[in-house]
């Protein structure tokens, strides 16, 4: 099995968001909303940190 950086980040973000939502929210609607929000934040922070490291990558 081989994953690219973005695929690995997506997999981790999906799993972590879903677990955070399941243990912190009640009701499936609230859980889905919170999972989507966490997932979005994971992606945002991941991409932001990636760009922040860009100048020192070469």
């Amino acid at each position: 099995m081989a994953l690219t950086h973005i695929q690995a980040m997506l997999l981790f973000a999906v799993v972590a968001s879903a677990i955070f939502a399941v243990i912190t929210r009640r009701g499936w609607k609230e859980q889905i909303k919170y999972a989507l929000w966490c997932f979005f934040l994971f992606l945002l922070v991941g991409v932001a940190v990636g760009w922040a490291m860009y100048p020192i990558s070469r």
């Binding site: 099995m1 690995a8 972590a16 879903a18 677990i19 009640r26």
Partner: protein, 138 residues
């Protein structure tokens, strides 16, 4: 999901509640999702079992490092403690990873992080089940 549960009062009820919370914590650690299953929170149990399982499987498939108890440094010990959080899945990962870790590539490094994340997330779920059984959380 069935979140409502009756809390018995009195010393016997408190003792039962303590026992149940320990069982949920220990069971949730040993088998991801078991803590919530004991509380009849089936949805949470299935989600925990599947997601922790997916992370462990991905970690093993990527040939991540499944740390052993006798690590050469503090980081290995921390890695071992994180991996051990996945309970029985940690031992399954050790037996499945017959080729050993390959952290010379980025994939192996991702695998190592996935295995550690699976352990930490499972501990979080086990603690949640424990707290629910104590009546401190919904």
């Amino acid at each position: 999901m069935a979140d409502k549960r009756e809390v018995k009062t009195g010393p016997a009820g408190a003792r039962n509640q303590d026992l149940l919370s320990y069982a949920c914590g220990l069971g949730g650690w040993l088998l991801p999702g078991l803590g919530h299953a004991l509380l009849k929170m089936w949805g949470r149990a299935v989600v925990t079992f599947v997601l922790v399982g997916v992370l462990v499987l991905a970690g093993v498939s990527l040939r991540g490092n499944v740390f052993a108890s006798a690590g050469p440094d503090a980081f290995s010990t921390l890695g071992y403690l994180a991996d051990l959080g996945a309970g029985s899945f940690y031992f399954a990962a050790r037996s499945f990873e017959t080729l050993g870790p390959d952290v010379s590539k980025a994939a192996g490094d991702y695998g190592t992080r996935f295995l550690a994340a699976a352990g930490i997330l499972n501990l979080l779920c086990a603690l949640h089940a424990c707290e629910v059984a104590r009546g401190r959380k919904a």
